[in-house]
């Protein structure tokens, strides 16, 4: 038990959360890849206004905020049912457009406080947004336009959300690592030495493993399954051309953006950890 009387956060639990999210990331991207680029969804609206994508994300986030707010009121009125477990939920829902959301934003329930209070200030969503629309979509989707803009931006939001969740779990990663070896991290934090912190947080072997696993998932979930395949078919014999999305695109996504951005979150979190 930690000082707050809650459960201890473990590296295993955090790694578990990251692995589960991998599947969700792969699913979300495969679903988006079902539609072509659909560029008009990202063009400025009438009179140079917001794109459909931006409109949708703002509205969806406002709805989620209303839902959380509603739930906190509702839950407190019900005097939180005893069977709701108060184990640690490793989940970070960081909005892309925080400024217009109803405030204050109550949590859906009172979770054990495992993160430093300043954790809520850490966000890399601007970078994720830019990365997704400018770099990832051109690689992920074919040129073309099927007119299904609303469905497209809904799928975009799903991708953005799940990637943002994955990347901001970096806060929990950093907390666990800090608790494990505060003597290693504290001097670097006090010196505000981002580079050395980044070095300390990086484990190339683990990253390679993640990359390979993501590629394997992309190949497995992206294949065209039919009844003629026999049991003897091994992984890798499904030609990449039979996959809905080039698996190397997805492993590249993890390598170039998801993992580095997660580490950025870890560093940003740690820099505030002693405040």
């Amino acid at each position: 038990m930690d000082a707050a009387g809650g459960e201890q956060l473990s590296l295993a639990a955090v790694r578990d959360a990251l692995v589960r999210l991998e599947d969700s990331v792969v699913f979300a991207l495969l679903e988006r890849a079902r539609h072509p680029r659909n560029a008009p969804a990202y063009a400025p609206g009438c009179g140079g206004g917001r794109s459909l994508a931006e409109f949708f994300v703002r509205e969806a986030e406002a709805l989620n905020a209303k839902a959380s707010f509603f739930h906190s009121i509702h839950a407190s009125l019900l005097r939180l049912a005893p069977e709701i477990s108060l184990t640690i939920t490793i989940q970070e829902d960081v909005p892309f457009f925080p400024q217009d959301l109803p405030s204050p934003l109550f949590p859906t329930k009172s979770p054990p406080k495992v993160l430093h209070p300043l954790a809520s200030m850490v966000t890399v969503n601007d970078a994720i947004w830019k990365m997704y629309f400018d770099e990832l979509l051109p690689l992920l989707t074919v040129d073309g336009d099927d007119g299904n803009y609303a469905e497209t931006v809904a799928l975009d939001f799903a991708c953005l959300q799940v990637m943002s969740r994955r990347i901001h779990i970096g806060k929990y990663v950093a907390e666990v690592k800090f608790k494990d070896a505060p003597q290693d991290y504290s001097p670097l934090i006090q010196a505000k030495d981002s580079n050395s912190l980044m070095d300390l947080l990086t484990f190339k072997a683990v990253e390679e493993k993640v990359k390979k696993r993501v590629e394997k998932k992309a190949r497995t979930f992206g294949q065209n399954v039919n009844l003629e395949d026999n049991a003897g078919k091994q992984e890798g014999t499904a030609g990449d051309s039979e996959c809905k999305v080039d698996p190397t695109v997805l492993s590249k996504l993890y390598d170039q953006w998801v993992m580095p951005l997660t580490k950025d979150v870890e560093v940003e979190y740690l820099l505030r950890r002693l405040d």
Binding site: R20, D23, S24, F27, L30, E31, R34, P40, A41, A43, G45, L52, F55, F56, E59, A60, L63, N64, K66, A67, S68, F70, H71, H74, A75, L77, L78, A81, E83, I84, S85, T89, Q91, T108, K109, D145, G147, N148, Y149, A150, E151, V153, A154, A158, K209, K212, R213, K216, K217, T220, F221, Q223, V225, N226, L227, D229, N230, A231, K233, E235
Partner: protein, 286 residues
Amino acid sequence: MAARAIYTVLVCAAALLLALASPSAGLSLDTVREFLTREEDTIVFSLIERARYPLNRPAYDPIHLGDGDGAGPGRRLNASFAELFIRESEAVQSKAGRYQSLQEIPFFAYRVPFTLAPPFNFTRELYPAAAFVNLNDAIWSMYFNELLPVLANNGDDGNYAVTVDSDLACLQVLSRRINYGRYVAEVKFRGDQQTYTSLIKAKDRDALMKLLTSEAQEDVVKRRVEKKAIVFGQSITSDGPIETSVSNSSQANFKVDPSVVYKLYDQWVIPLTKQVEVEYLLHRLD
């Protein structure tokens, strides 16, 4: 005289061309099958995502505001959190233009005076008088009363918004797949207008259902979607093997029970789709 004959021939030729040029060159038995096959993946993915969360029953109970124990009478809304959230979500999607193409039909009706979506020229493939046919009420009921209890584990983690969000994804794809029966029926009708016309005029539901049913085809679909549940639902580790078949699978490790997915298609998806097909056809000559 000759000029008049030529004129007549030209007019007839033009009329013939117009009649032959179908409003949608894109709709065929192949494209329909392709669409339905790809939908299977989406359905399996969305069920896997929903199965990540426990049942979270309070999200589906009618909402009580206030507890009526002396502070005043409790007020009960006739809607659950799920219904409210889904209504609001659909309203946003509606504003974004989601229901314009008629391929998707919302669960709740909206008055949307305008849409923010960029304009797009959708080919109208469905017969207008029959395009409204849908089984959304049955799908809603089936999903919450029959499917969810066997899909999700008992429990409550309090994360109702993400849970209902994933419910909506399931509902949307199931609705789209089942109501696609309209397109299936349209293609079949065009392929054999004479036979279908006489059955439709006789309002012979049973005969229509029989004509639309291919048990061999349905068996292939059910087994394939079960296999997809196994392949997509397996836990993939860096060094472990990949499941590729039904026979050597151990169900304990799967994120969604493949037999639930098989049953879903067997008892609901396929029968409901055929119901849509029959209803659509019964309006095809209106």
